[in-house]
């Protein structure tokens, strides 16, 4: 039925099967739209956030998807600026993933601000001393850049490319892609950092507060490093999952290996710096604020195991897997490493968002736990469903993997 939209030389499932695949995600998205509607109409009382937990599931989601979406800018940086041409095989997919991650994050932020109709205030009356202002500006502009980068991929659809002026515009945009890649790198570098810096400057929250360099706390640099370390791993993970589900070989194994190698070296640097940062924080920064660091981990479920799991199991282990040439040759090992690395960055963002607020900072404060309402969960799942649907449509009708045709039999 839709074969005229599908590119030549690639195998895609039947329309019926594709619709059956989309149906459950569409239901999930539908429930999410209802929950979002409730939040927008009735307000944030639909959530379990309060004055203590001003950041909840949604901010965790934002931080996690923005970190994973770093694969887009970092792949673009490696391809267009450092000329790693092998990554041309995944750049389109990375751009689509980045667009999904950032647009999902902005969508959730629009619900999270409570009064989205006043969201423009942050642009019109910016507090230039706030890390959040920088994040808001950078994310907005970078989402625009991602949309511009997405456009040429869409314009090369089999039917759209029949319009001559579309291809001319696509060609002209393509020539200027290095400029957009450089701008994307600049914007991403700073907003990834500012998201971390946001926590590092919280003097009233000793669990998050860090010393730093000039105006930037160490979390600024750790967030950048963890994002660019896991971005390639996320591209690797999604590519191999899509390959498995579609039954098509999408890229050469060498591309997986390169992504893993880049991820591995960056991860090991991150793990090293994170370990040093943690030691300094436990022995100097936190005691200076009058708090015994052991108190940070005195309440379950946020015991010391979280720290160990984050740094060792979800940091060091995937780094070692990725750094081993023998392991890199095995797809199951690469998948294991990617899953661990992505979970690691998600856990880090969860800890920074939730544990920071849960740990009491004053003697009379209780340890507070937070559990999201169904509306929060449904909104979270909406972003997941939106991502799956948009990616599925893009994979079916656009050329996300230029090597795919070549990987077929002729």
């Amino acid at each position: 039925m839709d074969s005229s939209l599908i590119l030549r030389g690639v195998r895609r499932c039947s329309t019926k099967r594709f619709l059956a695949w989309l149906a459950p995600w569409a239901v999930m998205a539908g429930i999410g739209v209802f929950a979002i509607g409730l939040c927008l109409v009735k307000g944030l009382n639909q959530t379990n956030m309060d004055n203590r937990f001003a950041f909840g599931l949604w901010i965790f989601l934002d931080l996690a998807v923005i970190a994973l979406g770093a694969g887009a800018f970092f792949t673009g940086f490696l391809l267009y600026i450092l000329r790693r041409d092998e990554l041309r095989a995944v750049i389109n997919s990375a751009v689509v993933l980045g667009f999904i991650c950032y647009s999902g994050a902005v969508l959730v932020l629009a619900v999270d601000v409570g009064q989205p109709l006043r969201a423009w205030f942050t642009f019109w009356h910016p507090n230039v001393h706030s890390m959040l202002t920088e994040v808001t500006f950078c994310i907005t502009v970078y989402l625009t850049v991602l949309a511009i980068e997405y456009l040429p991929i869409v314009l090369k659809n089999r039917q759209l490319r029949k319009v001559p002026s579309f291809l001319v515009f696509e060609g002209e945009l393509h020539k200027l892609m290095p400029v957009l890649a450089a701008v994307g790198t600049f914007l991403s570098f700073f907003h990834q950092g500012s998201l971390g810096g946001l926590y590092g400057v919280l003097q009233g929250r000793p669990f998050a507060f860090r010393d730093g360099f000039a105006i930037w706390p160490t979390t600024f640099f750790l967030f950048i490093l963890s994002a660019i370390a896991t971005g390639p791993a996320f591209v690797l993970l999604t590519t191999s999952i899509v390959s498995k589900i579609s039954g098509a070989r999408l890229v050469r194994h060498g591309v997986y290996e390169l992504l893993a190698k880049i991820s591995g070296w960056l991860l090991i640097i991150y793990v090293g710096l994170k370990s040093v940062d943690t030691i300094v924080w436990l022995n100097q920064t936190a005691p200076r604020s009058g708090i015994n660091p052991s108190q940070f981990y005195a309440w379950q479920p946020f015991g010391t195991w979280v720290l160990i799991v984050e740094i060792v199991l979800l940091g060091l282990v995937p780094a070692l897997i990725f750094m081993s040439p023998a392991r890199r040759r095995s797809l199951p090992w690469l998948l294991t490493g990617s899953v661990l690395a992505c979970l690691g960055v998600a856990l880090n963002r969860l800890v920074m968002t939730i544990q920071t607020l849960a740990v009491p900072t004053l003697k009379f404060e209780p340890f507070m736990t937070y559990w999201p309402s169904w509306q929060e969960v449904a909104t979270f799942l909406f972003v997941i469903a939106y991502g799956v649907i948009l990616y599925s449509l893009s994979f079916r009708y656009l050329r996300l993997f230029p090597q795919e045709r070549e990987m077929q039999k002729y």
Binding site: R8, H125, V128, E134, I148, R161, P164, E172, F186, R405
Partner: protein, 281 residues
């Protein structure tokens, strides 16, 4: 945000932060405006639109579909074309030609067989990688047609969209469109020129052109000696494309290709094969 707006002040924070922000916005906006401006300018030219289409198609070709003519003829071990098959502008091509001219020539074959793997390759014409040919005529005009593999594939098309006489064709642009079994392909023009006449059903040619300039520039086209290894490679690609999963690629060791390949190729593969043969991914 801007001077005059509540809470804006000319302090260091505002100047640095908003200065950087506006610079980035200006860079992004300028990039898009430049792309739009150039696109609008080029879209008005049919020639530029056709070249943009070919460049987009070429970039989507797999490296193994972009082998250099000098690799196919054995002059170099491996070389991928990055020049959109436009040998006229290729410095390497000029170097290869100079090298070949300087080398001692082997004695010419007494008779070059006119068939390659069952497909005719007459020596009186020049071949284009999109399976068309050009024959320079004595009156200075050029005759253009589909080569034998192209004819076997499209046979008698169900629908043919030919250019009107007077139309100016661009090398590697669209010469005509043909539809067969529900699949439409654009056939690439092997050379630039003005359409003088279109062929009928009984003719073995499709277009007659008046070349641009006094003499047609055919440096990008393959002579029959180069076309032979190229055609062999094309037939090999066709075999691989039509291979079934259980048997794999297999070359027939006898016989000739059936006249109507379109009927012999499974419908689900025909579209794919047409895209491969006519360089329209």
């Amino acid at each position: 945000m801007l001077p005059g707006i509540y809470e804006f002040s000319w302090d260091q924070g505002h100047i640095i932060f908003l200065g950087i922000f506006y610079s980035v916005v200006i860079v992004v906006a300028t990039t898009v405006v430049i792309a739009l401006f150039r696109a609008l300018r080029r879209s008005s030219s049919a020639r530029d639109s056709e070249l943009a289409r070919w460049h987009a198609d070429f970039e989507d070709l797999a490296p193994k579909d972009r082998r250099c003519r000098h690799e196919l003829s054995g002059e170099v071990a491996s070389r991928t074309c990055e020049n959109f098959f436009s040998c006229r502008e290729c410095m390497q091509h000029q170097a290869f030609v100079a090298l070949a001219e300087a080398a001692p020539r082997p004695p010419a074959d007494a008779e070059v067989p006119p068939m390659v793997a069952g497909f005719a390759l007459p020596a009186d014409r020049l071949y284009h990688r999109g399976h068309t040919w050009v024959r320079p005529e004595e009156d200075g005009t050029l005759t253009v047609g589909l080569d034998d593999l192209g004819m076997h594939l499209m046979g008698k098309p169900d629908r043919l969209e030919l250019p009107e006489p007077g139309t100016r064709l661009v090398t590697n642009g669209t010469a005509w469109r043909a539809t067969k079994n529900g699949v439409t392909v654009r056939v690439m023009s092997p050379i630039e020129g003005e359409v003088l006449a279109v062929g009928g059903e009984s003719d073995d040619w499709t277009l007659k052109l008046r070349p641009e300039g006094e003499k047609a520039d055919t440096r990008h086209l393959l002579c029959v000696a180069e076309a032979r290894p190229w055609m062999l490679r094309e037939v090999e690609r066709l075999h691989v494309a039509l291979a079934t999963e259980d048997v794999g690629a297999a070359l027939a060791d006898g016989g000739v290709p059936v006249d109507d390949l379109a009927s012999a190729i499974p419908p689900q593969q025909f579209d794919e094969v047409c895209g491969m043969v006519f360089l329209e991914p």
